[in-house]
Symmetry: C2
Subunit: 246 residues, 2 copies
Amino acid sequence: MNAQVTAAYNGHAASLSHRRGLVLARRLTCRTDEPLFHEGDAIDHRYEVVSGAVRACKLLPDGRRQILEFYLPGDVFGDDELDTCHGFSAEAAGIDETVLLQTRQRPMAAHTAVDPETMLRMRDQALRSLDMTRSRLLILGRLEAPERLAAFLLEMELRLVGRPPAREATPFVLPISRRDAADYLGITPETLSRCIQDLRRRAVIDVVRQRQVTILDRRTLVDMSCGAAAFSGGCPGHAQRLPAVA
Amino acid sequence: MNAQVTAAYNGHAASLSHRRGLVLARRLTCRTDEPLFHEGDAIDHRYEVVSGAVRACKLLPDGRRQILEFYLPGDVFGDDELDTCHGFSAEAAGIDETVLLQTRQRPMAAHTAVDPETMLRMRDQALRSLDMTRSRLLILGRLEAPERLAAFLLEMELRLVGRPPAREATPFVLPISRRDAADYLGITPETLSRCIQDLRRRAVIDVVRQRQVTILDRRTLVDMSCGAAAFSGGCPGHAQRLPAVA
DNA sequence: CGCGCAATTGACACGTCTCAATTCGAGTGG
DNA sequence: CCACTCGAATTGAGACGTGTCAATTGCGCG
């Protein structure tokens, strides 16, 4: 982890603590593919993505890789594991550079003493994450490559441009490489590329310079994805209002 | 839901509440394939499996199905969702009959007032479940059919016969149909059958009467599964000692 | 302008799905 | 106790989708 490090007070850092008051965070600037932690490493930090992207992935001994999740600007990660060491690895995945805020973090087991509100928030976040991961089980287990791509494009549009996209589709720029997208979808880059080109030929999407995507025919994508897209609702580690509680 | 219902005090029911004292639970006896709830139904109950098995699954409009999880005797489910309605359906999957304990349950959002210890336990359970589901992402996304089967057999042995299996392998009986196992692994029953027969021919496993499995060569299964098997540790909704807390 | 890596394209092999036929196993009735 | 029956599981043949490997194109950067 040779990222350039700058001590920084408050600012964005405040949103990491979820407590009122001042928080000390480090600002990390990572080059593409730079590891933040590996599977098996001790859990001792918590991260918030400022810009770029992070991939959470599991590796097989023979090099096969499954990306569990992408963390995009605003997402928080590193605090959603039970054990004292990580069950997956995390690496900067942004095309150019990825900027993060890092705060110290004790393993979960020691967190008994925190206030009930924080505990509730953490549980809700875990359940949100669980729900999203379950949706992805359906995608990886039962959708074919073109269907997975459709679900992926809808998910990315939702996360990058926001909720109900305007009548005129807003273009968005995928912050990750083709290989990463393929490893997220459980297919090869070649198959992904063929599926993308097919959607282009059929004028379902427009792609310029390999990264910028415009959805021309959302209806077709929704049909293709069989409504299986993850992110009907919340994002991975994204802070959200608590539901009104009794 | 036409299950035979019997009011029952305490006994097993006590383990549902995780509080000291008496709890009222209903005892359900379900025939195979009988639904407990559907995706979209309001969340209003919590279940503990007594005997048989339950499958949690997501459906596609065209009938494709992905089983998210099997709940086996001792497992608790129905209380691990954030929303007010279920994100998946649950059906009895036991070969003969499945017996459950059912208790009333308010949706999660209203749970602010519960004691911190319960909250902590719920969060830990969600994180355990999340970890297992992430492992399954790797299995469904990156393992081939024979590898998935290997991981599945190891998982089932662990859940049905317990931790470090003796030198002489203990036979166990799969409590589910081939179709359910296939839908759990994201493959077809035909492919599953072929993989099973292959392991038999190679004397890696022994199968009698289609259900009873004995692992003859665990080493080979472990190698095949690439160490990707879910359940290195805990089970789905299985009550576990809390880690010692500060 | 040209280097270098990522992305695309093509040809082919292989794994899994599909559909149909057969066998197996549990339960029933003679 | 044994035939019969029905559904589940297995087996086979062929089609299709995806993976593999190599060649080509495209894009960003010096």
